[in-house]
Every structure is written in C-alpha cells, then in structure tokens.
C-alpha cells in the first residue's frame, strides 16, 4: 500500500461510514466521493463530525461500520502509516525536538526515499521558508509553523491531503493570505485536498465542492455558488451565509410557481427552486437579494412584497449596511444594502416595505427550528 505513491491525487470514497463513540454517535451514515485533483471542503459547526471523518480517512480512528476507499482500493483495515494520505493538523503537531528541515524530511526518511534532505528543502522553498530550515518549530510564528506543517505533508506527494482547520489559529489577514497560497499550491501540485473547516467564507472561497455537514450527516453538497444560491435545508441556508426564512401553508401550486400564505401575505418561489410543493413549507431569501422602499411600491406578481415594518437596527459592516426590519407577522427581516458612498438612506424607526424578486426565493425541504415569522 504505502509503496505506491502517486504524482497526482487520487479519488476518495467513503461508503456507509458510521462512527459510534461511547455515549454518542459522531457520524450517522456518510457516503462521500471526492474526485481526484479536487479541492473539497467539509464545512460544519464544531461537533458535527467533520474532524472524526477526517481522522477515519487518515486511519487515526476506525469506523464502526463502513469502508474507506482511496484510488479505488479499500484501505479501511490498514494502519495510518500504510495509507497514501497526509494530514495538516489543526495544532500543526510539528515535532519540537527536530529542526524544521528534519520535520519536513520525516515522512521521506520513514519511507526510505532517496535524498530526503534536498527534497525537503525543495518543499520548504515551495512555502518560502527555506531560510528557516535549521530553526526549531517553536522559534517560528504561527503562520510559519502552518507552512512547515503544509510542507511536511506535501513533500510526500500523498494521493490525498487532509487539512484539519489548518488556518483556524491564524489572524484574519494571515488567514486570507494563506488561503490564497494554499489554493495556488493545490493548483500547482494537483493533489486532492480535503479541507475541514467551520469557516463558511473559507470553504466557499477555496473549494471546488463544499459539503455542509450537520449532526454527523451531509446536509447538502455542491459547488459553492450553487450551495449559496439554492440551499436545500434550513441549516444550510443559515450556516452558509444568512437567510430570511418564512413558514406557511402552500396556497398556490401552478406550473412555475409555489406560493405560501404568511399572515395573509403571499410569498412565492419558483417551482424549480422548491424542494417541496405542498403542505407547510419554508421559503427563504438572501438578505442582499432584498431591498426596501420608503413608500409602498407598485410591483407585479414577479415580486414578493412585505410590510410595512419598522427599522429597528442599522449596522455598518464596511462594504454594506445591514438593516433589521421588524415586520408585524413576519418577524425580523435582514436586508443588506451596498454602501455606495451615500449616507444611510433611512433612519432608525422609519417605516419601510421589503421586496425581492420571486426568482430569488428558494423553497426548503425542511422547516427551520425557528422561522422568522414565528410569533414569540
């Protein structure tokens, strides 16, 4: 197994993985296929089972049920050191008693690869740290340690590189910089990357495919744009960006449109963008797709309109203003308005109407634990 190492990434397949720990189940039933050479992100809140998934792939945990296949080969019963997989740990886990260069050369030496030191030096050049080769890891900054950890994994040219929130400990500026570098390195070396993170921006920014994980299951998987544009569950709608979600009974089910009744108001969504077409369903819209009007606008049926409501909070977030509008019967609706240089168009306490195009609505497959129009 370990003798076969590849120049390019290999695909990974998880089949029916279930992982039970004493007292709880970390992973319910996981099926996943990551094509070779892809940058794949596993996104979820802490405790959703994403790190356990990573550890199962690396061989550091055994699944209770299920199989792990790398490049089509079943590796479920092999030890971590027999798998063509390397991990960049969240805490980096650099060996404190070895120099940076020896850290990077470790995997090569274990596999008895010729010329480990020149190869390790090359890997350090890739992350621009060759000048620190003789330092000890604890003499480096967090960002430098992160890059050493990356070089230590990349130098082995694994079929699959696992990244366990490797940017979590870095400050925002460094994190952005590392995201760009990581993406560039992945494109350059062409390996399969599996990136585990709870940072939705990071996942959307870097990955070709994002899988959103919750309670030990994958809720939705797809390209970042698709996931953002059409979340299918309430969890995805709220974890990946923000959403306004309304719950009501379906009152209209035509060829192209589904509409629900929310407190006497019609909220519509395109049928193609709706998971469910009858009964009590949830329809949502992204805050930046909604706009507000100081007077009641005259809009056709291609728009949803609610209001009037009172602006109860205005938050300046730099590129945009975030308005919180309390519409009776609809709860608090969030609207983003781009900050284009004008002073706030409306004051706190102003009465406004909120509208958005029907085509921007999305119908969810489940109901949120708490909808925006739930009366408190």
């Amino acid at each position: 197994m370990a003798e076969q190492f590849v120049a390019r990434g290999q695909d990974l397949e998880l089949v029916g993985i279930r992982k039970e720990f004493p007292g709880f189940t970390a992973i319910e039933n996981l099926d996943l296929k990551i094509p070779a050479g892809e940058f794949f992100a596993l996104l979820g809140p802490s405790g959703c089972g994403k790190t356990t998934t990573l550890r199962i792939i690396a061989g550091l945990e055994e699944p209770t049920v299920g199989k792990v296949l790398i490049g089509g080969k079943d590796v479920t019963d092999t030890k971590p050191h027999q798998r063509p997989v390397n991990t960049v740990f969240q805490s980096y886990a650099l060996f404190p008693h070895m120099s940076v260069l020896e850290n990077v050369a470790f995997g090569l030496r274990q596999r008895k690869i010729e010329e480990p030191l020149p190869k390790a030096t090359k890997a350090l050049e890739l992350v621009e740290l060759e000048h620190l080769a003789n330092r000890k890891p604890q003499q480096l900054s967090g960002g430098q340690q992160q890059r050493v950890a990356l070089a230590r994994a990349l130098v082995n040219r694994p079929a699959l590189l696992l990244l366990d929130e490797p940017l979590g400990a870095l400050d925002l500026k460094l994190r952005r910089q590392m995201q760009v570098e990581l993406k560039a390195i992945q494109m350059e070396v062409g390996l399969t990357f599996l990136h585990v993170t709870h940072d939705q921006e990071e996942a959307m920014d870097m990955a070709d495919t994002v899988a959103v994980m919750n309670h030990g299951q994958i809720e939705q998987m797809g390209a970042p744009e698709a996931l953002y544009d059409r979340p299918k569950t309430a969890f995805v709608a709220r974890f990946l960006g923000q959403s306004n979600i309304f719950v009501g009974d379906v009152v209209e089910n035509t060829e192209h449109t589904i509409a629900i009744n929310v407190n006497g108001q019609r909220i519509a969504a395109p049928k193609l963008r709706s998971e469910k077409h009858e009964g009590k369903i949830a329809i949502g819209v992204r805050p930046e797709k909604a706009t507000f009007h100081e007077t009641k606008p005259q809009l056709g049926s291609e728009h949803n309109l609610v209001g009037p409501g009172e602006i109860i909070d205005i938050r300046f977030t730099g590129v945009s203003n975030q308005y919180l509008i309390d519409v009776p019967g609809f709860g608090d609706i969030t609207v983003f308005a781009q900050n284009v240089g004008k002073s706030p168009v409306v004051e706190l306490g102003a009465q406004v109407y909120v509208s958005w195009k029907v085509e921007h609505s999305f119908g969810l497959s489940d109901l949120p634990a708490k909808a925006d129009n739930d009366e408190i």
Partner: protein, 264 residues
C-alpha cells in the same frame, strides 16, 4: 541610621540556616584531609594521602563499588520498567488503571523499615540467600514508584497528536516510539534515572534488611562509625558531593544558556 529589624532578620536567618546545613558537609570535607592514626575524630595534621590512596582501606572501595553497581543496575531496570508503566498509565485506559495509580504511591508512603523488613521476610520465606542481588531487587522495588511518577508527569505534557502525526507520516509503531515519543520523554526519563540513582546510592534502611553479608557504602559508613570512620570514607563522601554539585551547576548553566538563545 535607624536599625531595621526586617532588613537584617531574613538574611541572618538564611545565613544561619545555611551554616547549620553546611557544617556536617564541611566537617566531612575537612576531615578527609586529616592524617589519622587510629580514629578520624580529632584533627591531627593536613595530608593529601587519603585522597591519593583512597583505596588504601579496601573495604571502603569495595563498599563504594558495590553501591555504584547496585545503583546502576537498579536504576537501569526501574527506569525501563517505570517508563513503560508511566506511558501505559498516561496514555491508555485499561481495567485497574486507577488501582495501579494508587498502588504506586504505596511504596512511597510506606515507612522504609516496614518495606525493608517485609521484603527480608519474603526472601527468608522463599529461601533466597541475601546478598548483592537481593539488594538490587529491593532497590528496584522502592525506586520504581518514583520513576513512574516522574515520567508520568512528562507523559502528561506530551501531545498525543505528535505521535499521530508520526504515524500519519509513515512511521510504524516502533519508529513512532523511538523517533518521537522517546526523545520527547527523555528529559523526564533522565530526571527519573538520576533520582532513582541517588535514592539507591543513598539508601541505608532497606539495604540493611536485605544485604545479608554484602555491604554498600552507607552500610559500611554506619558500621565503621562505631569505631571511627576511616578518612577514605570522608574522601568518597566529599567527592560524591562535589560531583553532584558540579552536575547540577552544568545542567543549570546549560538550560539558562538555552533559554537565552531561544529568547534572542
């Protein structure tokens, strides 16, 4: 100038304590240069002979050699065993782990007289002739707990992810241990070995019960004290003290230099 009690009391107290502590050591050191005839109690004249011919009294050197041999063997065994126990206790969950943890404190808490007498009774029961190896066994028994406690403290600071990273980087179980676990535990293991050596070298009570006809340095000094300790014993005692102080100094200097280098 006003006489300040607080300003003088503490330094005086410290100085007196040090003098009190140092008197026996200084006495031993000075009398190692005494030119004795019969007993080394009264000062006669200064000589280097005792230092130059330390084995003039063969019993002294034999006892000293015995002590060193026993300390080395028991330290090697108890450090190896103790390290394995410490890793098992620190890393793995198994049945009887807390019981083992508790039992380990027993030898440290039990009075040495009880331990020594108890072990002597066991040897008698089994019909084992007392001598060099019974002393070694006794020393392994009472140093083992100290090794486990010392190494376990080090195991607790060892991040298990480092070992995981090792196996992730293609190291099999034995490579992970020798390339990662062992080097990282080494400072703790060395400290445990030094402690074990000092305890073994120093021990009198347990040794007395289990030595039989054989002798160790402390036992020899005790027996000799009845009729006046030979100055060669003073020489060895002083030399051990000087070597120990030198080791401590070197270690301290090295770590402070290292700290300075890291701070740069």
């Amino acid at each position: 100038m006003k006489f300040s009690l607080g300003k003088w009391l503490l330094p005086t107290y410290v100085a007196l304590t040090f003098i009190f502590m140092m008197i026996p050591i200084v006495y031993t050191f000075i009398f190692s240069f005494n030119d004795v005839e019969k007993s080394n109690i009264a000062w006669k004249s200064f000589t280097f002979d005792n230092w130059l011919n330390v084995c003039a009294q063969p019993e002294v050197c034999h006892a000293f050699g015995n002590s060193i041999a026993i300390a080395v063997i028991s330290t090697l065994v108890s450090t190896a065993l103790g390290t394995a126990i410490a890793i098992a206790l620190g890393r793995y969950k198994f049945k009887g782990r807390s019981a083992t943890n508790l039992l380990l404190f027993l030898p440290m808490a039990t009075p040495e007289v009880v331990m020594g007498a108890g072990l002597a009774a066991q040897f008698l029961d089994l019909g084992v002739a007392k001598g060099f190896w019974t002393i070694v066994i006794a020393h392994i028994m009472f140093t083992l707990s100290f090794v486990v406690v010392t190494v376990k403290a080090r195991v607790a600071t060892l991040d298990p992810r480092l070992e995981e990273a090792g196996s992730d980087l293609y190291a099999n179980a034995s490579s992970v241990f020798w390339r990662i676990t062992f080097p990282l535990l080494l400072p703790g293991i060395m400290a445990a070995a030094m402690l074990s050596f000092a305890l073994s070298f120093d021990d009198f009570i347990i040794t007395q019960f289990n030595a039989g006809p054989d002798t160790t340095f402390p036992k020899f000094v005790y027996t000799a004290a009845a009729r006046g300790i030979p100055p060669e014993a003073n020489v060895i005692g002083s030399a051990v003290f000087i070597v120990a102080i030198a080791i401590v100094l070197v270690v301290q200097l090295r770590s402070s230099l290292k700290a300075k280098r890291l701070a740069k």
